[in-house]
Amino acid sequence: MSGLYRLQDTPLSLQEVVDAVSAHSQGGLVTFSGAIRDHSKGKRVTRLEYEAYGPMAQKKLAQIGAEAREKWPGTQIAVVHRLGTLVPGDLAVVIAASAPHRKDAFLACEYVIDRLKQDVPIWKKEFAEDGEVWVGLGP
């Protein structure tokens, strides 16, 4: 199993990424689920609209997974990110990292979500009660 890296516009399954990195060699498995919050900077969020530069985003996810596997040999990584319109409570991203020992699984999982937020071309527009804004763009 070399990893699972995908974008999709249907609901995410944490179980899918867990299954993708489970193996008898892997003693530790850590997951991250990113869900839509119902508030942002004191405002009530009604929905987020996600879009991506699909081919590049897929490629970047796989590159980040490869980086993690190089830093922590023996780890396995699975990441699936959702696109389209999401409402509070929906999962936007699910990540699983497994390793022979727990420490590497924790580190790899955190590494993947941190790198995803830096370099994977995915965008979200936040719709709140008082208007809409591209997240991360600043004023």
């Binding site: 370099d119 071309p121 995915i122 965008w123 591209w134």
Partner: protein
Amino acid sequence: MKVTIRFFAAARERAKCNTLELELPSGVRVCELTVALLAKLPELGPLMPKLRIAVAEEFAGPDDVIPEGAEVALIPPVAGG
């Protein structure tokens, strides 16, 4: 050569289009493309300092040469997760 530029998110909204084709000299560099692009779409100006440029699905620097046929994309600050 013809270069196709793709726009996403805030860049797409400002450009009011998904893609644009520019006719540029062979061997053109990223920084020269951005000058030509701003001449064509000055409304991208305020956003430009925040954008990264991708060439053939990889982030590129200002001095990188754009290969024939490569797809160029404007990448606003990303916000995955």
